[in-house]
């Protein structure tokens, strides 16, 4: 059975990620211990949270170094929400240096009349490049978002999907063995479950 490490860094609702992984027939292991996560076939970086606080936890616990090694080992990683932001070089959220696996930065939604921030609710995800995570997922499937910042990868090749909210922003990014979703697939009904299933069995 495929084992999926779910990194626990005390952010957000990771239980729902675990539930989805189990529901899809894989073994999920929630842990904050690099030695435990190291043994997993694939890794999910879940969660809500604030970039600075998250990076501080990762840097002080050694999880940053672990993530770098895991990424370089070529094994699949799925980032979710804040996990889709900290993989870039830096975040505008309290000027936070991040992991830098993907060139680019994270910015806040612009202030616009009538545009509520955080962007919260269901919004369509438009695929930019084919990626195994979207296999069988209909184009423009609505997914569940809760965020105030979004990723801006420097290179077009790292864009996996886009979504419209005041601006057209990148809602999924990819590079090599890493794919990261700004929305919550574990809360996005059938299309989201399909993406997690794809990550478990086809990425």
């Amino acid at each position: 059975m495929v084992t999926i490490g779910i990194m626990d860094y005390k952010a957000g609702n990771i239980r729902s990620v675990m539930t989805a992984v189990q529901y899809l027939g894989a073994k999920g292991i929630i842990s904050e211990d690099p030695n435990v996560l190291q043994k997993c076939d694939k890794l999910i970086i879940p969660g809500d949270g604030e970039a600075k606080a998250v990076m501080e936890v990762l840097n002080t616990t050694g999880l940053s170094d672990f993530l770098r090694e895991y990424f370089n080992s070529g094994r699949p990683i799925l980032g979710i929400c804040i996990g889709c932001q900290i993989v870039l070089e830096k975040s505008e959220e309290r000027s936070t240096p991040c992991l830098g696996f993907i060139p680019g930065e994270v910015v806040r939604f612009p202030q616009q009349p009538g545009l509520k921030v955080p962007h919260m609710g269901w919004n369509q995800v438009h695929h930019e490049h084919s990626h195994p995570i979207f296999h069988g997922v209909p184009e423009d499937s609505p997914c569940y978002f809760v965020h105030s910042y979004y990723p801006v990868p420097r290179f077009e090749e790292h864009q996996a999907a886009r979504t419209e909210y005041g601006v057209s922003f990148v809602s999924a990014i990819k590079k090599e063995n890493l794919v990261a979703l700004q929305f919550h697939p574990e809360k996005s009904a059938a299309p989201g479950l399909k993406m997690i299933e794809n990550f478990i069995f086809h990425c």
Binding site: R15, P118, G121, Q124, G136, P138, E164, K187
Partner: protein, 260 residues
Amino acid sequence: MLLKRIIVCLDVRNGMTTKGIRFKGNIDIGDPVVMARQYYEEGVDELVFYDITASAEGRRLFLDVVERVAEQIFIPFCVGGGIGSIQDMRDTLLAGAEKVSINSQAVKNPRIIQEGASRFGSQCIVLGMDALRDPAMPSGYRVVINGGRTPTERDALEWALEAEKLGAGEIVINSIDADGTKEGYELPLTRMLSEAVQIPVVASGGAGKPEHLADVLIEGKADAALIASMVHYGEYTIPQIKEYLSTRGIPVRVVPPLRS
């Protein structure tokens, strides 16, 4: 484009879904876990569970319901009723809820909004507010608590703005005047709050037919509409309601079938 949400509300008492009219008299109408799964499969966008039991035993049954719901539905859901401390919030979120809703307890102790938001994030903290028409109040609406039974000195608009400042991530505005009437949402109240705050506003109380949802999402400028009895008794289904809203030009979530 951000889609308008349809939220189904389930009042839970002693582990069973129950429905009352104007907070008087309740009848059990089903197993909340079974109902939640059904609404999920029909395409509801979010669910809210309110614990309306007062006993410790009822509370345990309720958290058990929350845990079993979390294992079966893969959309966000919010839990309210009886949440008065950070520990209550933590228990509820750990049981699998995305959001917690605080109502009377927030009026009695507004700091709980701030504490909850800084601990768990604003996106988790929903302010539930019951409001009653009252020309004596600056906005025309008075905040009432304890299920609508106890009037407070707070003005609905001022309280919404204060809660937003304290860190609430969303407001569910329930009109006591409209609740249970099935004659439509309280549009002026909903619109006033929607225009005043930057956080999403969910309209509650008064829905009887799909036209009411269209009215509150368009004229009331709500981000989401909460319904209960309209669907609990099989009068309408979620797909019927969404189809109607689509014909009115309201963007709603329709899940296309997955490709193999």
